[in-house]
């Protein structure tokens, strides 16, 4: 009897350690990634990295200024497409939708969310690149924008639903029509959460490479306007990493560090912003 109890207790201890090991191993991957990026790329994140254009193939030095600006352009376009549609659809689902239409929209949004990013690139290719006969920032922005929609919808709907019903009622009891109550009380109450969700969404698409490979494509120079092939940070990392030049590898690490740094900062910042609400109801 006693032996059995000792056995069970040791199994318990062993499994506790094993599962803890699994968890720690998984977490340590994150630390490894950060560590290697800093180690390989830290020295290369210089002022010229941010301000210079890439040098001609084979030459060392240069920077990724155009890729950084290009990514900015693409994200702006993505936000223009993804945020309005996502936000308004979220408002519709939370405030106006009946059960049938609501189900349809939610289901479709989920479907869209599951589309692999490369297939999204194909979509933007057929919609924009084919008719225009060339790569462009527009195409890349469209691909990223459509990818933003599902999370923007979900985020908006969730935070709107979290606003207590009594706030809505209070506004309507004062004579506000439904849309006024939503616009002046409910949405402001949910604003912080919604903005955070959208910010995280942007951070996610900022790191996407696959949909840009044959939409925005790439550019070793500045791209003007929205109609030209545009460099972006993730595509640059990819191109440099698979190339045979050591100097390009060095720059890829630097770019990776910058990209990851931005993404992680946004994520940590968002989670820090979120629990803190200025107007937290008491009692």
């Amino acid at each position: 009897m006693k032996l059995r109890i000792i056995w069970r207790k040791s199994v318990n201890a062993v499994m506790l350690s094993l599962t803890a090991l699994c968890a720690l191993a998984s977490v340590s991957v994150l630390l490894f990634i950060l560590g290697y990026l800093v180690y390989h790329g830290g020295k290369s994140v210089t002022w010229s990295f941010f301000t210079q254009l890439p040098k001609p193939v084979g030459e060392t030095g240069g920077g990724m200024a155009n890729a950084i600006v290009g990514s900015g352009k693409l994200l702006l376009l993505a936000a223009l497409v993804g945020v309005p549609i996502g936000f308004m659809a979220g408002v519709y689902l939370a405030e106006f939708a009946g059960s049938a239409m609501g189900f349809l929209i939610r289901y479709t949004t989920d479907l869209l969310n599951g589309v692999p990013s490369i297939v999204m690139g194909i979509f933007a290719f057929t919609m924009v690149v084919l008719p225009m006969h060339h790569f462009s920032a527009l195409a890349g922005g469209l691909a990223l924008g459509v990818m933003m929609i599902p999370i923007a919808v979900r985020s908006t709907e969730e935070f709107l639903r979290n606003v207590p019903h009594t706030l809505r009622e209070g506004a309507m009891a004062l004579g506000a029509s439904k849309w006024k109550a939503v616009a002046t009380v409910v949405i402001p109450a949910a604003a912080r959460g919604i903005l955070t969700g959208i910010l995280l969404d942007l951070a996610r698409v900022a790191g996407e490479t696959a949909p840009l490979l044959f939409t925005a494509f790439g550019n070793r120079f500045w791209s003007s306007g929205w109609n030209q092939p545009t460099a972006s940070l993730p595509v640059m990392i990819y191109t440099y990493a698979i190339a045979p030049y050591d100097d390009w590898h060095r720059q890829a690490w630097a770019a990776g560090l910058v990209l990851l740094g931005l993404v992680l900062l946004t994520n940590v910042g968002a989670r820090w912003l979120l629990p803190k609400k200025a107007h937290v109801a008491r009692g």
């Binding site: 809505r168 009622e169 004579g175 506000a176």
Partner: protein, 278 residues
């Protein structure tokens, strides 16, 4: 005959409350503010109010009492058509405000004329000033200066001005529970309503906060018709002029408060008041 508990204050405060004019019963005296006839209410297939008819007198405090879930709140919310914010509700019968059917009125205008204070205070996540000014802004009233005056006046009527006059731009959530509820009353008063509906406004408050609110309601009835749903019989007895007893979706009895509490006409009323159930 079993005498009901003497809610000591009942006699006293009711005498004071009925100071002006003849004491109006439900069917004589000044024109009733609300006239409800044969009201039936349905939530989906379930009926929750059965053939309610009553007249609510103007510029008096009318209390609606009865055990939980017997329809008092449902009835209250019908008076300013708040039931329409919930799906699957249906109303049959007539509700008149100043002899006009409320179904024929523009609902946002109705709700400006008939204000509501909820069971749990629900100030908006805005400043104290913006909370009170909300109704004014939404109804398109008031430039900045007149807004400030209206806000101050409402806060006075809600007996809150002295406590918040130096912190109007602070968040409403910085106030205590009782203060928040008075803020909600001020907010409702800002649009100058003819009637205010209060749904158990003190149920979440301590006795001191409750007393403050009862006192301000007492002063308020000079300008406003007040209908208050309450679980607290003592509160109904000491604070109201008229009382309606609801049971299982039916209106059992409606009378002047002191009459209802001292000599109830119906056995169910007497049983409830003496605490045999509830």
């Amino acid at each position: 005959m079993a005498t009901v508990h003497d809610f000591g204050l009942a006699e006293k405060s009711n005498k004071e409350g009925l100071g002006n004019g003849p004491s109006p019963g439900p069917s004589r005296g000044p024109e009733p503010k609300f006239r409800v006839a044969n009201l039936n209410f349905f939530y989906g297939p379930h009926q929750t109010l059965y053939d309610i008819s009553l007249d609510i007198p103007p510029k008096r405090i009318t209390a609606l009492i009865g055990p939980s879930g017997c329809g008092k709140t449902t009835f209250l919310r019908a008076l300013n058509r708040m039931h329409e914010t919930v799906r699957h509700t249906r109303l049959e019968g007539e509700i008149l405000l100043d002899n006009q059917s409320i179904m024929g009125l523009d609902v946002t205008q109705l709700r400006r004329r008939v204000g509501m204070v909820f069971q749990k205070s629900n100030p908006f996540p805005k400043s104290i000033f913006d909370n009170v000014a909300y109704g004014l802004r939404v109804n398109g009233w008031g430039k900045q200066r007149t807004l400030a005056e209206a806000v101050e006046q409402s806060l006075h009527r809600a007996a809150l001005w002295d406590e918040v006059k130096d912190q109007l731009h602070k968040s409403a959530y910085a106030l205590s529970g009782g203060q928040q509820q008075r803020l909600c009353i001020a907010r409702a008063l800002a649009v100058d309503p003819e009637a205010i509906l209060l749904d158990e406004p003190c149920s979440a408050l301590d006795p001191i906060a409750t007393a403050k609110i009862e006192e301000l309601l007492f002063h308020l009835k000079e300008s406003c018709t007040i209908v208050i749903v309450t679980h607290n019989m003592q509160q109904a007895a000491r604070a109201s002029d008229y009382a309606g007893f609801f049971l299982l979706g039916k209106l059992i009895e409606f009378q002047e408060t002191r009459v209802l509490f001292k000599t109830p006409a119906r056995k169910e009323t007497e049983d409830y008041i003496t605490g045999r159930f509830g």
